[in-house]
Symmetry: C2
Subunit: 201 residues, 2 copies
Amino acid sequence: MKKCEKTELTISKILEAAMNEFGRNGYAGGTVNNICNAGINKGLIYHNFAGKDDIYLACLKQSSERLINYLEQQDRIENLESYLAARMDFFHNYPNEAHIFFEALLTSPHHLSDSVTPILSEFNILNEKIYNQALDSLTLRNGVSRNDALSYFHLMQVMLNGYFSSPVFQNTDLSEKIKKHEMIVPKLLDFMLYGIAKGEN
Amino acid sequence: MKKCEKTELTISKILEAAMNEFGRNGYAGGTVNNICNAGINKGLIYHNFAGKDDIYLACLKQSSERLINYLEQQDRIENLESYLAARMDFFHNYPNEAHIFFEALLTSPHHLSDSVTPILSEFNILNEKIYNQALDSLTLRNGVSRNDALSYFHLMQVMLNGYFSSPVFQNTDLSEKIKKHEMIVPKLLDFMLYGIAKGEN
DNA sequence: GTGCTTATTGACTGGAAAGTCAATAAGTTA
DNA sequence: TAACTTATTGACTTTCCAGTCAATAAGCAC
């Protein structure tokens, strides 16, 4: 095997173990030693990464890229319903990515915020784009401004991400329904859109 | 000063420092040493508490009690709008309590879940009561079941708690509006209720 | 005050964590 | 193949953290 290939393989092995560790235990709760216990030599980790923070940020970056990739591959992504459904799908199928992304979004460690912000901003830009597209195809009911609706969408995002990527959600009615493909997203979205739009959506 | 008074004062001092520490850094990120650095002797902490977990659970319990207390003191608590507004108010004014409560709700450490659950359940009971009361005074629009509406309310809760208790929220438009008392809650709630109820709410 | 209990102190321990390093194995280039 | 560079190893150091403990100070009951 070529050298560069080996290095790449090593790095991806480390990242995989790290995703598991941080996905399970979060940034503060996760340890480099645990990553080693997945069968990777410690020195090798520090040969490829500058330190714990560096590994964590790589995981966050990978989570973000996978999420955005996943979303952009979807058909009809400009449709808010398929967009949100895809997002929930992703968080449901990739719990480690979900947890890492979510923790960074809500409670990332203070000393890392400068590094975390740019990673998260790509997702924010995509969101903004989709939300504006969705708003273009809606007629808002009286008393609802475009800004109101945007705020509303942002809150919706926290709600969906947070709820469906969190442990609390496991073993709830909603979780079961989604597993059984009695998909409730359309219904929820219907409730929400019905709240701001004119007429039937 | 009386002995029992001193002990009480000591405990409340420890708790205050601990609330700061866990509120800032979360359970895994918070350390007993940092609590000591607030001017409390370490031995004294362990004289009054069994360990880090014990301190943390006391903080969580205090957060929960303060939240529930705050909510129950409100006028017209049975009204969903004032209820949610009060909740957001609380989280906004008590960021440490908010963060601790929120972390426990979403990502409490695995080994503590048995101790955390009963503390959180009081809040859940209160919620359930309010939600049902609110539903009694609403006529749901066609195709929306009572269960749907309850799920919807629960999601709303995560959304509001999560969003308004998280660092991401700081320095956002919404945050500014709330600080300036251009309270946006009624509007949000209106959107939400309009999504499930028949006619104008 | 005397004897007793409890509060308080700070130095201490053991272990686990992040991070280092010299030595070796394995590719790479000439 | 020889010289060189990079990957890999495991033992090592340092730092930090949870938790302990013997000694002292302070309230309390008589």
